[in-house]
Amino acid sequence: MDSTGDAAAEPLLEVRGLSKIFGTLKACDSIDLEIRRGEIHALLGENGAGKSTLVKMLFGALEPTAGTIRWKGQEVAIRSPGEARRLGIGMVFQHFSLFDALTAAENIILSLDDPAPVSAVAARARELSRAYGLPLDPQAHVGDLSVGERQRIEIIRCLLQDPELIILDEPTSVLTPQEADKLFDTLETLRSEGRSILYISHRLEEVKRLCDRATVLRGGRVVGHSDPRRETAASLARMMVGGDVPVVVRDKPAATREALLEVRGLNRKAGHPFAVSLSEIELTVHAGEILGVAGVAGNGQGELFEAISGEALQESADTVRICGHAAGRHDITGRRLMGAAFVPEERLGHAAAPFMTLTQNLLLSRYRTDARAFLGRLGIIRNAVVASAAKRVSTAMDVRKGSEDPEATALSGGNLQKFVIGRELDRQPRVLVVNQPTWGVDAGAAARIRQALVDLAKGGSAVLVISQDLDELFEICDAIAVMHGGRLSTPVPIAEATYEKIGLLMGGARPEATSGLPLEETV
């Protein structure tokens, strides 16, 4: 190793004292980071730890308030993404920076500095996609592609620049386990070529598996550098959270066979060109049961949620039954009155009105179900009662807020999600349907939310959880069904479910193939 000389020992990127201040918030507080050549360096941290801000500064999308960045030993000021690219820094974004209305090839051209003709770029992209095992059709419109395919475009777009440092922001959060495995192979190939990778993730197992070194952020500061291979997932989590992460406790609920939520032969045509149509969805959730719906984003989960919640009505009343009542022709309020509660995916703008206070938001979703408590004669709102209910929810779910009754938009994502879920749980619904309960929520809040779902089921309610997070589903569910292309698989009991099995279903494999039985024997 000594013979490698100075050039190799010198870090590729060296960050010293980098800070970014937004108003009074120190998003990044004198960060030190060093990335060597040919290493995969993990950047770990909870939501709001400052990972994205740091990366945006490295990619020239944000200007640092203070601190220095040295690239190959030279101090540089990265003022724009274009400058970052010219230095040799490429980035694959978490929320992809792609254009839906353009083709894959056009998307790629836009990020190139030299104006090459479409055909030449398409040819280069094909070549790279073969070399790194990333299948891609340059003429396809991005709006029609799956999330995994979109990520491939991002990666190929990045590789076309021949970067020395590739920044990947939460790349596996949208992939099936099998897709993630393929991505890891690609990353290892890139490392073997001497490129460096800055890998941002909160999935500790994959960091342990893939990364050479790790830098951990908490509250905008670096709290440690470590070798992830020598750590356990639990010790890394402690560094990230700054304490122990609560573990969800669940004991076997009393098994009753009372079906509280039933969906029979649900079909739905896609409402717009980028939507998914649902076909022949069948599911049953019994009292005391948590059923998980896994799947890669954009396979019809949103459409399924809308159909069950009553945002979209069904042709026949019997398609959806809630607590024994035919609910297919009832709207959301009607279904709530039957004893169901719903938590949609987007908290701001869908689950909560951003510029209304928590109390007002609570009233908006419960003014009919709790009419007797919340409304007086002539429908006059009893403000004190509603406010005390909001307070009760905040206490029960440990919602942290700046003032007594802030606007929904003033809360952080995790706290608002805790409030939105708490608002529904406070009713003790017999049926709860929740879409992505902990998406973008930090580990502490996520554990709190999962515990609440488990407790609700223990009390004899039926819970349907739609989630992209497989770890979450394995942690809390009694059975997992998988959505793919608008169809729902038969649920796999948790005792028989493995990541591989669910992952194959997510990728579109037929259930027959995963169970290992030839088709004839199952018929």
Binding site: G82, E106, P273
Partner: protein, 304 residues
Amino acid sequence: MFEDILITIATAATPLLLAAIGELVTERSGVLNLGVEGMMIMGAVTGFAVAVTTGSPWLGVLAAILVGAAFSLLFGFLTLTLVTNQVATGLSLTLLGLGLSGMIGESFVGRAGVKLAAIRIPYLSDIPYIGRLIFGQDPLFYVSILLTAGVVWFLFRTRAGLTLRSVGDNHASAHALGIRVITIRYLAVMFGGACAGLAGAYLSLVYVPQWVENMTAGRGWIALALVVFASWRPWRLLVGAYLFGAVSIGQLHTQALGVGIPSQFLSSLPYLATIVVLVLISRNRRLTMMNTPASLGQPFVPDR
């Protein structure tokens, strides 16, 4: 007679096409400028004033283009730099243009104008029925057709056009890639203004070579509607503008013949026919979605 009708149709359609093709480019970059009518009338009055004062219609055309662009620059400054609401700002731009043009044009009311001479290509323009239509029109007619072809080529065949479309599709992504969203939108807005000014000059220097207050008579609004109904596709815009021109001229002739149909109904025919036809050709929702600028009308403030 037949050829005369065809030529009047082209004369009715050209100002609409000129204004609409500019607005199409503006909207493709994600900016909704409802001030087309205002920019158009400013172009009309300036074009007329300069042409009459200098005696040169071409100087009038040039002045109209510059004033249209300058007027749209004001819109750009308000909506792109100061991030005001695009709808409200566009509406006030129209009101401002109508008022300001009336004031500027006061002393020009009733004065004889200067007409931009038609081009006559010898022999070819003598071909029966279509000779004058294709080879004997005013220069701005040819400009409008070439401009449409040029916009098609620019938007779908050049790197700059691709960049412009990307800004209209998703300005956040474009910014993340290092594309200068605001600069591109300024340029697109000013192109739209220049085209609207040119369309105004067509009205006061070709269509009726004189100045009358409010002489745009809602053509800016029709141009705006055409852009949407043509689902932001230039060739459809051409079809829409000529269809509108044809039906408006057709209904005038029908009224003149004294057919027993209420004139109010006939007057509404151009609008009805254009809407019906463009809705029919935009039936493919997938294609329409692909061509609709997804960030149209949304303000963009890059975080720094």
